[in-house]
């Protein structure tokens, strides 16, 4: 093992030089061209939260309709658009991007790097996400929003039964969004493999890195299934191909297979980074390292591997052979084993720790409880005979909301309370935070627990209204009251965030006395993140003196790299330094390429072939513009000092 120490000439960190090199210039141009992961991360978080509010309003409209039976203020057509857009918004435009926001902001700070591996790709990923979201919501302007459910089953969504633009916004919008997800995932994986600080071997990483890595690999492998499904449906609708056309040999079931091959792993994509967040926050408030770090990371990876082979449990009622459904039922139940490993690791951490019930920790406790409930009703629905009884009933709605709200929203809320002080430099209110937590916890349970009962009593999902007097009235009223409570907690949280900007106590570098690297820098962090690249020797660099870890991490000495945007590249497993990576400057090309792709997408929605070809030409031009300076310009002469030596001292 070797320790990187600073060259003596660079021992006094030229912080002003680093600041000049890394700071994005102010003004509109700087805003549009920035590739800083912290800026991009916060943009992701704000945009995703805005979509959460919109999706919440859609849910509110549906709850208003369903509070009592025989209510008709939303027409069936409008209700279909509301529940479809609610699902699409929450699953695609909130749940995954909000986690990308945290990962983008936190990864380089946690691993001692100055940026992500591909900063311009990072900007491209954000701009395409924003534009894809706006494209999907442009459907509202023409009054033809997607209305086939977030799963958009054929033949209901084929040209015959859905002749409007509704499904075209869905197929094109999700293909465009899939591009954003994929390039974002590539960036995370590349960063994981190349950018960790010297000494940061894979057993010393914060768990969110493992969660996001697992999600990203799944995105690379499974998002294309959705893309293929959407492309084939688009062709069926506009070129009159026959992929899903049963009258001409096509198979509607092909859609369900492709969609759920993507769709079930997507559920893990939107929860695994959140599980990682929990595994990083719980130790801070239990004042001890995470119990069973290795088991938690391995079970994270095992979850995504098992999760790739369970998609048929969404299709138990489609008449597949019993052999097949039995296999997928068994596979689905094994997920409870890998999830259980994490739950018991958290319980052990709490049990053996000295828990401090601050607001982020309250959200983690709420998360564990909801996760267990969502896991138990998940095992119930994984059982074929049980599922066939309750398929398409409110029981399933209860299950999926316990899972998604419990394992995504609660860790995300805890993460906001935990990391917003790092992002803004000011603490949120402990007192308001407790109100937010309890309102949200009570609201979530009051909303989603009665749905189990309503489902058992036979209420089907996706109905725009129901007859009174079927025994569903009381539970539906409770559900609406719960939803209003939940909404109140979100509004209170927003108030807290706004309030903290002016009156929140100054956070300081490490307000929680937390153990990981992001807390070693100022709040908010400087544009270059670290004045010197640290060397890491344990998973909890800031707790080493108390844990008695030897040798200790070195945070105040190391390579400075102030000759331009540079950071240290390391190998994937051991974090041995292998190169000084030159990072790109701010660039307008990510935004221009995103606009070109949005142009193509919009033209395709309206079947405007000429316009889409112009968009393709613009896309090609943007890519060439992006690549040209590096790929087409003559190689410059070797600048002096580009083959530099970093003195390494052996401590073995």
């Amino acid at each position: 093992m070797a320790t990187v120490v600073a060259e003596t000439a660079e021992a006094d960190a030229p912080v002003a030089t680093l600041d000049r090199i890394w700071r994005t210039p102010p003004g509109l141009l700087g805003t549009l061209t920035s590739v800083d992961h912290k800026t991009i991360g916060i943009r992701y978080l704000v945009t995703a939260f805005a979509f959460l509010l919109v999706g919440g309003l859609e849910a509110g409209a549906m709850r208003a309709q369903l509070t009592h039976g025989d209510t008709h203020w939303l027409s069936p057509e409008a209700y279909n658009q509301f529940f479809t857009m609610h699902g699409v918004t929450m699953l695609f435009l909130y749940a995954s991007p909000v986690l990308s926001g945290f990962s983008n902001y936190l990864w380089p700070l946690m691993i001692g790097a100055r940026d992500m591996a591909y900063p311009r790709v990072n900007a491209l990923s954000y701009w395409t996400y924003l534009l894809a979201g706006l494209l999907i919501y442009a459907s509202v302007l023409v009054g033809q929003s997607p209305d086939g459910g977030w799963f958009a089953y054929v033949p209901m969504t084929g040209a015959t039964y859905s002749p409007g633009l509704n499904i075209d916004f869905y197929t094109v919008g999700l293909t465009f969004l899939g591009f954003s997800t994929t390039v974002g995932a590539v960036n995370f994986i590349g960063t994981f493999f190349c950018m960790k600080a010297p000494g940061m071997s894979v057993n010393r990483l914060p768990v969110i890195l493992w969660g996001t890595l697992s999600s990203s690999i799944a995105a690379v492998v499974f998002v294309p299934a959705l893309t293929v499904a959407c492309v084939l449906l688009y062709l069926d609708r506009h070129v009159h191909t026959h992929f899903f056309d049963a009258a001409n040999g096509g198979q509607p079931m092909l859609w369900q297979h492709l969609f759920w091959i993507f769709g079930h792993p997507w559920v893990y994509i939107v929860v695994l980074p959140a599980i990682g967040i929990a595994s990083d926050i719980i130790p801070t408030f239990c004042r001890r390292p995470l119990a069973g770090y290795t088991f938690v990371t391995l079970s994270t990876i095992a979850t995504i591997m098992l999760g790739s082979g369970v998609w048929v449990h969404h299709m138990f009622a489609t008449g597949l052979p019993q052999m097949s459904t039995s296999f997928f039922s068994a596979a689905s139940m094994t997920i409870s084993l890998t999830s259980g490993v994490s739950v018991f690791a958290w319980l052990a951490t709490i049990w053996h720790g000295r828990p401090q019930f601050r607001v982020p920790f309250l959200f983690m406790c709420g998360f564990i409880i909801l996760f267990v409930i969502g896991g138990v009703n998940g095992v119930m629905t994984a059982s074929v005979p049980f599922d066939q009884q309750l398929h398409d009933s409110y029981f399933v709605v209860a299950h999926l909301h316990y899972v998604l709200v419990g394992i995504n929203v609660f860790p995300v809320m805890g993460a906001f309370y935990y990391w917003i002080p790092k992002m803004t430099g000011r603490m949120l209110s402990e007192r308001i935070g407790r109100w937010v937590f309890w309102l949200m916890f009570i609201g979530a349970n009051l909303t989603f627990f009665p749905m189990h009962i309503t489902g058992m009593l036979g209420m089907p999902r996706r109905v725009y209204t129901y007859a009174s007097g079927l025994g569903w009235d009381t539970s539906n009223l409770l559900i609406t009251i719960g939803a209003a409570t939940f909404a109140a907690s979100i509004l209170l949280f927003l108030f807290d965030v706004v309030r903290s900007r002016s009156v929140g106590p100054i956070a300081g570098d490490n307000p929680w006395d937390a153990p990981t690297l992001e807390w070693s820098v100022s709040s908010p962090p400087p544009p270059y993140n670290f004045a010197v690249i640290p060397t890491v020797r344990s998973p909890y660099p800031l707790w080493e003196s108390r844990l008695g870890e030897r040798p200790a991490s070195v945070l105040d000495a190391g390579p400075v790299l102030a000759d331009g945007r540079e950071t240290v590249g390391t190998d994937a497993l051991d974090g041995e330094p292998v190169a000084i990576l030159r990072m790109p400057e701010d660039s307008p090309w990510p935004l221009l390429l995103a606009i070109a792709l949005a142009w193509v997408s919009l033209a395709l929605v309206f079947s405007a072939w000429t316009w889409s070809l112009i968009g393709v030409a613009l896309t090609v031009a943007s890519i060439i513009g992006w690549l040209a300076p590096a790929a087409m310009q003559p190689a410059r002469a070797e600048p002096t000092g580009s083959d530099r030596r970093l003195p390494m001292t052996s401590d073995a």
Partner: protein, 205 residues
């Protein structure tokens, strides 16, 4: 006391041996992952083909024109283009810029020829995309493949311009390696498409 040597990579040529590994470390990973996700895309397309074929009573249907007359030579053209690209890339690794330029030019020419032959193949096909399920699959899958060949050609043209302007040296040619990797991927995907759409039906006949 050991001393490790670190090279600056990215904007300029780096120092000693090992720099190319470092280029692979970041840019190479991005290309590998793009290829992984594209490979999955074709995997799902071919899954759709076999899934739908499994339900059909006669596959391919009688009116489909499945013949190796153009497809087999075209496969040879694409394989040859990959071989020439390997030859060109091996040139730049030893600093022979002329060999790289020749390899890139020949690869691009063969790639363009492949696309042209594919257009002839389509024009000879009596079934249309909307005419039958088989036509839908045939044109969609080969169409997406040709689109990927065109993307590969675009990459080759970009690095070709770079090669003529002297952007690459023995130590700095990550863009060439990445474009080559993509081209080989397009080639390998064709083998899967060719096997599914041509070889298996012909051998079953």
């Amino acid at each position: 006391m050991t001393t490790a040597r670190l090279q600056t990579i990215g904007g300029a040529d780096a120092g000693a041996r090992g720099s190319e590994d470092a280029v692979h470390a970041s840019g190479r990973w991005a290309m590998r992952l793009v290829i992984a996700t594209e490979a999955c895309f074709f995997g799902y397309l071919l899954f759709s083909y076999w899934y739908l074929a499994a339900f059909a009573t006669t596959w391919p249907p009688h009116d489909a024109q499945v013949s190796l007359h153009l497809a087999l030579p075209n496969t040879g053209i694409l394989l040859a283009s990959s071989a020439l690209l390997i030859w060109g890339e091996s040139g730049i690794k030893r600093g022979r810029i002329g060999q790289l330029r020749a390899g890139l030019a020949l690869t691009t020419a063969l790639g363009a020829l492949f696309v042209a032959v594919q257009f002839v193949e389509w024009s000879r096909q009596t079934v249309t995309p909307s005419g039958s399920l088989w036509g839908s699959l045939f044109f969609t899958i080969t169409g997406f493949h040709v689109a990927h060949v065109c993307v590969g050609l675009l990459m080759l043209v970009v690095v070709q311009v770079g090669a003529w302007r002297g952007a690459f040296t023995a130590r700095r040619h990550g863009y060439v390696s990445n474009a080559a990797l993509y081209w080989h991927f397009v080639d390998v995907v064709w083998l899967a498409v060719f096997t599914s759409l041509y070889l298996v039906p012909v051998l079953n006949r």
